[in-house]
């Protein structure tokens, strides 16, 4: 078995990963004493954390879609945490419930830590086994070290925590890393959970209000509401977490990043804002007994061509900006132009998803990994409702890969089933109309139009320009004035109708202007003295000669 000093922790390099993996497997097969195995486990655990904390800064700093190397590193980290969790659990189980050994609290803590890290680095659709996690918690309870503080290395830093706080952090992380956040955003949530350790408290009785429940005798994660069975359960109140979230908002106002260290402090503030919004929704109390989502209807795998992003929707769904590759022709109805534009995008560049279910508020899709490449949470997605039908627009809310089948499951929130491409012209332009464009009108469900909007780019919104719209025989001037929803590079902007033109100039007939004649008052000049002598040329403004 390699010692600590001989292991390289540069996990970006394949040989370092191979060395660590070999050391972990050696430990798994080792037949030494419990104490030696426990020491080696804790040492490997700390080394994995140190190496990952070094590697993930580079991994998370890119806002681009991860390449295959990034994906393989992520998968490797997930596997190592799973492997160490397995080894640690076996070590704990080898004591057969005896918790008197000094190293047992450390072992339990590290097992819970690896469970949470494995969830974080491998948010698959197939959820992890929760029962081993609950068993570790129950074991710590029986050993009376649930609330015993101890220092543990996480993210390259020492944290003083308890088993209970680590357990709650693991369950909350599992709930939040369910495909609704990107990797960077999950990392921010995790950093905040470490920061909120003081607010993570388990209660044995249902506290009411906004709270989550863990049934310790079932293989499930956190659930809402009071327990329905007689089995042991614990509750975590969400109100203190909401208070902590508001503190972060306040710190942002003061120009502080929370936490001020670690790789999350270097992530874009937009990512932090997305997480703040997500947590605001996640931490608010459930709306009584009302169902959290609309009833879903199975769709039996309806295959659809979809477009991702505003520009792709406009280009392929609407045909805006489609290059024909030909010179401009006088005959605009030449069928060759249309044919050329259709051939422009071959099947290889198209994406096809299978609609698995739908509801009044959204859709569920399944896709091959190749088709889902580049699709991220927050993207705008569009497709046509049948041949020649209206364009449907949605926002990608969840993206969860399967751990085995090579499929990706995508959840889409419906924005509209009847998007209308509409050309808008800027009222004031400095580029001869080049800024004019086609935008997707999203009609609201209210006939008054107060919920209507346009899907536009972020830059278009920041222009705060006024646009003219010609809708049939009617002409309107409108201005985007609010953000109704937003995602990666797009905004669903509300708008207001502004007066179409300036008020007419009033023509005044027989206008008589006032008399502007003016007269100069005579200046009283001093009388000239005949015998006056001028000492200096500048003593007087006018010489006696001129005054004469």
């Amino acid at each position: 078995m390699k010692t600590k000093s001989s292991l390289s922790l540069q996990f970006q390099r394949p040989e370092a990963r191979a060395d660590f993996e070999k050391a972990r497997r050696d430990l798994k097969c080792a037949e030494t004493s419990f104490d030696e195995q426990a020491d080696a486990f804790l040492e490997l655990s700390t080394q994995l954390d140190t190496g990952v904390s070094r590697a993930k800064r580079e991994l998370l700093s890119t806002s681009l879609t991860w390449n295959e190397e990034n994906q393989s590193l992520m998968l490797w980290i997930h596997q190592q945490h799973r492997g160490l969790l397995e080894t640690g659990t076996k070590l704990v189980q080898s004591r057969q419930g005896d918790t008197r050994h000094l190293v047992m609290p450390q072992l339990v803590m590290h097992c819970i830590l690896h469970w949470a890290e494995a969830v974080k680095w491998g948010a698959w659709r197939e959820r992890d086994e929760y029962q081993p996690l609950h068993d570790l918690y129950l074991l710590a309870g029986s050993g009376r070290f649930l609330d015993t503080p101890a220092t543990i290395m996480a993210d390259g830093r020492g944290h003083t925590v308890t088993v209970e706080k680590l357990y709650l952090r693991a369950l909350l992380l599992d709930r939040f890393a369910s495909g609704s956040l990107t990797r960077q955003q999950v990392e921010i949530v995790d950093a905040w959970l470490w920061h909120w350790q003081g607010s993570l408290k388990a209660e044995r009785a249902f506290p009411g209000g906004a709270s989550l429940r863990a049934d310790l005798d079932t293989n499930t994660g956190l659930r809402e509401g009071a327990a329905k069975s007689e089995g042991p359960a614990i509750y975590v109140r969400l109100e203190p977490l909401e208070t902590e979230r508001r503190k972060i908002v306040r710190e942002m106002h003061r120009g502080h990043m929370v936490p001020p260290h670690g790789c999350t402090a270097d992530l874009r503030i937009e990512e932090h804002v997305v997480v703040l919004d997500y947590l605001r929704r996640a931490l608010r109390p459930a709306d009584g007994d009302a169902p959290q989502r609309a009833p879903r209807e199975q769709q039996a795998g309806l295959r659809l061509e979809v477009w991702i992003g505003l520009s792709e929707i406009l280009a392929r769904g609407v045909g805006v900006g489609t290059e024909t590759g030909r010179y401009r022709a006088l005959q605009m109805n030449d069928p060759a132009i249309e044919q050329q534009s259709r051939q422009r995008f071959a099947d290889a560049a198209r994406r096809y998803l299978w609609m698995s279910d739908s509801s009044a508020t959204g859709f569920g899709f399944e896709a091959l990994e190749s088709d889902a490449a580049g699709i991220e949470v927050g993207d705008l997605i569009g497709w046509r409702k049948g041949l020649g039908g209206a364009i449907i627009l949605g926002k990608i809310m969840r993206r969860m890969p399967s751990s085995t089948s090579g499929q990706v499951f995508i959840g889409v929130q419906l924005l509209t089933e009847n998007a209308v491409p509409m050309p808008l012209h800027q009222v004031v332009t400095f580029d001869n109309g080049m800024a004019d464009g086609t935008y997707m009108f999203v009609p609201g469900d209210d006939d008054s139009g107060r919920h209507d909007g346009f899907v536009i780019s972020e830059k278009t919104f920041e222009l705060q320009a006024t646009y003219n719209a010609h809708v049939g025989q009617d002409h309107f001037s409108l201005k985007f004035n609010r953000v109704r929803s937003r995602g990666r590079g797009w905004i669903l902007a509300g708008f207001e109708i502004v007066p179409a033109k300036a008020p007419d100039v009033v023509m005044v007939q027989d206008l008589t202007l006032p008399n502007f004649d003016f007269t100069l008052d005579p200046i009283q000049l001093p009388e000239a003295k005949p015998d006056e002598e001028i000492a200096l040329a500048w003593d007087r403004e006018l010489s006696p000669r001129l005054l004469a």
Partner: protein, 284 residues
């Protein structure tokens, strides 16, 4: 300790400084290093001045010059007009008020509002940048210096069932331009409309402290008495009189600047109808 030999320093194009090597090889005497304090330059006023004659006609002492360059010049502090503009803000109109200001204010409730406790203008550049980027990400396209734009945006957030964002926007704008009383008043009205009694009291206290003699304070008191009867901050306990208002709730002063003109609302309905008609034609 590293065992790699240190390379000879090279000059331009990688050539070694042969002259320096020869000099050191022939045992040239080391340069005298005088204390830097002796080389401190005399105070010199800004501007261009005649070059004084050289003290020594033999040549320029480069060591002396370089030592002088290393000494940081003693510059006077720069006074920036931007700091004064805040103090030069128009003072609020003085009126008499019977309300008493409670001093036992919980600091956490409204500390973000009090400019005396938090001044974004005093942030260091890094924190200022973080704050600005947060504002840009949270409230795109909104200039916090423009009170009218801020109030309108806050009203729109409120109408779109996002009251938390509306209040946050007004909070940040009040921090940026604390002398703009319309922002504070709009915040008070929104809190009143949200029936947020605790928030209203805290905001009213902060407003009273920031604008102690504002002419709108009597209106704030009236709203406060309606929302929290008996609160000492809003004067004596008294309900609305019969002739004040005949509706179920006291009328609001429209500090959120809701437009009275309904023409744009009608135009929006027309636009909605025309767009759907266009969509129907396109689908067929």
């Amino acid at each position: 300790m590293s065992s790699i030999p240190r390379p000879i320093p090279t000059s331009l194009f990688g050539l070694p400084p042969i002259g320096a090597m020869m000099k050191s090889a022939f045992g040239a005497p080391p340069k005298k290093h005088k204390p830097a304090a002796h080389h401190a330059p005399a105070q010199k006023f800004a501007g261009s001045w005649p070059t004084p004659p050289a003290e020594d006609e033999v040549g320029v002492d480069m060591t002396k010059l370089l030592a002088a360059v290393k000494v940081a010049p003693e510059l006077s502090t720069i006074e920036w007009d931007g700091d004064r503009s805040r103090a030069a803000a128009p003072a609020a109109v003085t009126i008499d008020s019977t309300a008493t200001l409670a001093t036992d204010i919980a600091p956490e409730e409204h500390e973000a509002l009090l400019p005396s406790e938090f001044d974004p203008g005093a942030l260091d550049p890094r924190r200022r940048k973080i704050r600005d980027r947060y504002i840009a990400a949270r409230f795109p396209g909104i200039d916090l210096q423009s009170a009218a734009r801020v109030i309108k945006s806050a009203r729109l957030y409120f109408e779109d069932d996002q009251p938390e964002l509306a209040i946050e926007l007004l909070d940040m704008a009040a921090q940026e331009v604390p002398h703009e009383s319309p922002i504070w008043l709009a915040r008070l009205e929104l809190l009143f409309l949200m029936r947020d009694a605790d928030g209203f009291v805290a905001a009213a206290r902060a407003f009273k402290q920031s604008h102690p003699h504002h002419e709108a304070w009597s209106e704030v008191e009236r709203l406060g008495r309606a929302l929290i009867p008996g609160e000492a901050l809003f004067g004596e306990k008294s309900g609305p009189r019969d002739h004040d208002h005949y509706g179920p709730w006291p009328h609001t002063p429209n500090w959120i600047q809701a437009p009275w003109d309904l023409t744009p609302e009608i135009a929006a309905a027309d636009f909605h109808r025309s767009a759907l008609r266009l969509a129907g034609r396109a689908a067929h």
